[in-house]
Subunit: 224 residues, 2 copies
Amino acid sequence: MTVAPTDATAQKPRRTEDKSVRQGQLIEATIDCIARYGITGTTLAKVTEVAGLSLGLVNFHFASKERLFEETLRFVAREHRDQWQKGIGARGLSDADRFLAIIDSFFHPGICSPKKLSVWFAFFGEAANRSTYRAIVEDIDEERHQESMRLIRAIAADQDDMGIDPIFVSLTLEALMDGLWLNMLLYPADFTRERSKAQVRRVLALMFPRQFGTPQTLLNGPAT
Amino acid sequence: MTVAPTDATAQKPRRTEDKSVRQGQLIEATIDCIARYGITGTTLAKVTEVAGLSLGLVNFHFASKERLFEETLRFVAREHRDQWQKGIGARGLSDADRFLAIIDSFFHPGICSPKKLSVWFAFFGEAANRSTYRAIVEDIDEERHQESMRLIRAIAADQDDMGIDPIFVSLTLEALMDGLWLNMLLYPADFTRERSKAQVRRVLALMFPRQFGTPQTLLNGPAT
DNA sequence: GCAATGATTGAATGAGTATTCAGTCGATAG
DNA sequence: CTATCGACTGAATACTCATTCAATCATTGC
């Protein structure tokens, strides 16, 4: 499902709108509600109130609350995928640049905002039981993991760092970023986007000193 | 609150039991239900049914469902704390051994079982809004973080690895382990306890090659 | 204009759920 | 053996919330 952004140029709120507009409003409101009230406190009454729409619309545009939740998760998942794909898509980038772009995508303001992190972890918490949620997350994880591996292999081959295991590098950095996301969710004051990104780069420098190990100026201040 | 384990020797179920026994049963059942149905699907009716107790008991032993949830989170948090404290408490351990014990505690079968991981992430998902949950998690995180830092500082001082930043090491490994927990929750078939533990040790070896960098035999098979 | 179509509304419905509490039961003290 | 007291029970209560749907309204094609 593609979600059209709310049209900022439309002055008068029209009574009827394109389906994708309404669906986008409802998904946006769902994200807000999960961030504010948690997944347990998110009711359709609150979602529709935040969206400024009437209660019945959720079951009209989505079949059920469950479907609305699925589409919300799909939305943030696609947002992240689009972000890193845009990052590696630019012309003239080296493999190292592309891999850094994937890392950067994790810490892009639109991707790891407090609201989005709330949504991710709300669904992680439910994912163990809901196969639908897990499938959505797995899809996007797998796609990114494959791309990361491809890039790391290329980076390792460029130099003669053949001792390093691409699977190990990829899994480690991805797990690290997931963990930093959790820290950013729980302790937003201590774990900022920039600090976290620098931390990942520093680990990367440890793994590929020749390729990434130059500017050690980052991250020296006190933390938690 | 200290929870007494269910007495396996008691053959006849007594009608009345010590408070701590009942509280333990209810917490145990809550963990089961969160793992099975998610936090949204966990009702008091299900919890008491799983516990084999009557509906009214939750509000008798805990003031409310909310309190039951808080005590459940506190219980798994204390379990983890007890685990690592027991690990570093043994006589005659080096600082390196103690730090490895903290790592091991994350991957102890009783600590990172699928059920316990479900509980952790269920609460993480809610923690952004519920200050009580966050406070419980923060408490235990902070205590462990301080101990880790102390040990890493000692390890770095032992050798002359003064270039390494203890804060960086501690935050990185903790985030990594959180991320591995998430992977173990979402993809239990691919991310086993032993494999994850080996992965952390490998990163540790990268940071302190002299102290931890010997047996490179671990983790070479294919993953996800 | 004028239907026809489809989006929108929100009151009504009904299923489900936390909490209460009056009564039951049984262990223990005397 | 009896009385007392506190644990225990589960039906009843008082909600909340997802879902439905008949009625309303705006748009579009004619």
